[in-house]
């Protein structure tokens, strides 16, 4: 098992390095001169040359790449071409906001999917089970931002229970923070909850067919008790895998949701940087998002190896 985990770790490190080169390369071909964008059309050639030197874009691409990636190891993402401020601290701040959103979205998804999925599985031959399955199929089809617009209409515009957007950090006012988090978290979590319900349902149905569960039922346990005692741990292996992959989906989904609710997270920072053509900031954010996806995949692989007894024995 240790060898397998080490192998996965090596793949993760190599993938991360290749991904960073890809992100850098993709944005290096951007037409236009960042110095020109920063200074405007009236800049003198001398000033342009000086700014290019300041940005470090007058050097060979390979040097630029190694300096960029070297800086990132010490948390230095360089300075924005537009505001001239360091990118790193702002990026970490914004990532924190996005993580609140993703965490709350995941919580909503789990709170929906676990009971609904188990219920739909236990009753999969009855009408009530089919209703849950149908609803989850419908939920999968509704994009997060459509759910967001509907939720805003109901809870912010009509009922006026919750704010339609904005963000209050938890240390400033915990109550405002929570009330501002509810709608974005629901928008993210409802759709992911629907996706997860389908996986929970199918993996619980698989477990229900196992002989040991039939034996437990034959001993007189109710379907739910039998599942709780003997089935849930086995059903959790595929669900954990999907859950990990969904984290990545939530992270990217947050980009759109942040725009709907005007939340200052990583997604809004990315969209603003793109519209200001702030290349270095775009580069840093994209790298952080891609690394997050790779990291989640790595952790899922490791968890899968640890949780699955068959893989554990094989090594």
């Amino acid at each position: 098992m240790v060898v397998q985990i080490l192998r996965r770790a090596l793949i993760f490190v190599v993938s991360a390095l290749v991904a960073s080169a890809a992100v850098f390369g993709l944005l290096a071909v951007l037409p236009g001169d960042p110095a020109q964008v920063a200074l405007g059309v009236s800049a003198t050639p001398e000033l342009l040359a000086k700014t290019r030197q300041e940005f470090g874009i007058d050097r060979p691409l390979a040097t630029q790449y190694f300096e960029w990636i070297g800086g990132i190891f010490s948390g230095d993402f360089g300075n924005s071409y537009v505001t001239r401020e360091p990118i790193g601290p702002q990026l970490i701040d914004r990532l924190g906001v996005t993580m609140w959103l993703v965490g709350a979205g995941m919580l909503v998804a789990l709170l929906i999917a676990l009971p609904a999925g188990v219920f739909a599985a236990v009753r999969h031959r009855r009408a009530s089970g089919s209703v849950i399955s149908g609803l989850s199929q419908l939920g999968v089809a509704v994009p997060g931002f459509v759910a967001a617009i509907i939720l805003v209409q109901i809870f912010a515009v009509d009922l006026r229970w919750l704010p339609a957007g904005g963000w209050t950090p938890p240390i400033i006012d915990p109550l405002d923070f929570l009330s501002g988090l509810i709608l974005p978290a629901l928008s993210l979590g409802l759709v992911q909850g629907a996706v997860l319900t389908r996986y929970v349902r199918s993996s619980v149905i698989d477990v229900l067919r196992e002989d040991y569960l039939r034996t437990a039922r034959a001993k007189g346990l109710t379907p739910y008790r039998a599942l709780l005692r003997h089935g849930l741990r086995n059903a959790s292996v595929p669900v954990v895998t999907v859950l990990g992959l969904q984290l990545a989906t939530l992270l990217i989904g947050a980009v759109v949701i942040e725009r709907v609710f005007v939340i200052p997270g990583l997604g809004s920072m990315l969209l603003d940087a793109v519209s200001n053509r702030d290349l270095l900031t775009v580069q840093g954010i994209v790298l952080v998002l891609v690394l997050a996806v790779l990291l989640v995949n790595f952790v899922v692989d490791v968890l899968y190896t640890v949780l699955n007894p068959r893989l554990r024995q094989a090594s």
Binding site: Q137, V140, V142, Q153, A248, T249, V255, R259, V282, V290
Partner: protein, 273 residues
Amino acid sequence: MRRSSSPSLWVGLGLVGLVVVMALMSFLWTPHDPTLVDAAQRLRGPGTDYLFGTDKFGRDLFSQVMVGARTTLFVGVVAVGVAALIGTPLGVFAAMAPKWLGELVMRVNDLVLAFPALLLAIVLGAVFGADTLTAMIAIGVASVPSFARIARSATLGVMSTEYVLAARSAGRTKTAIAVRHVLPNIAGLVIVQSSVSFAIAVLSEAALSFLGFGTRPPTPSWGRMLQESQELLAVEPRLALVPGVAIALAVLGFNLLGDGLRDRYDPRLEVRG
């Protein structure tokens, strides 16, 4: 033995058919010009003249939904086409190539998986300018890995069958085996994946247009209709509801179609059933 068709297949076919018919019909006829700005008709409610009413510019919503279906299908067909045409041969190659080369191809494939469609489209939009073409390519490239994975695992299954062993011992080349035996046998799974990927493409295009990284005005697009509806949400929720329902029904249709086709083609389900 052929299994009977599931209800998912028929409901999915019905919904997808509806989108296709609307899109095709929009080439010949729409109730009004979907891009015609008419201040006198702005924000009219649904009625006989305007089935779903008009938007803040007086444009007919139903006509926009019809032409928007065309945009959605166009993006889906090109994106899924790109993904299937690159991903399927790549997966077959990875399965039939020497082990180290196949492994390398799949590692690169997994790396592409770390660039979700939305992120890739935003980056490509920043580099080359955001429009429908960039969105289609980004969604297509981001969908390549899922086709490659499916094709590889299905090919590995086909390669261990007796008829492939017979073809190999008869001296057939790998290319001939891939074309004559592998591709026809994995086609069903590729079709299932196409339907699932189509649903994802519809969602991605809508999200990108919503963010301003997809179809440009004045071409109607469901995602942009939603974006434009936001400022009037408090007074006219209908403006968001119409494109929202259109997106949801199209995605539901392709997902159900994928489920129905899987029931029919997926050999793993056959073993279980």
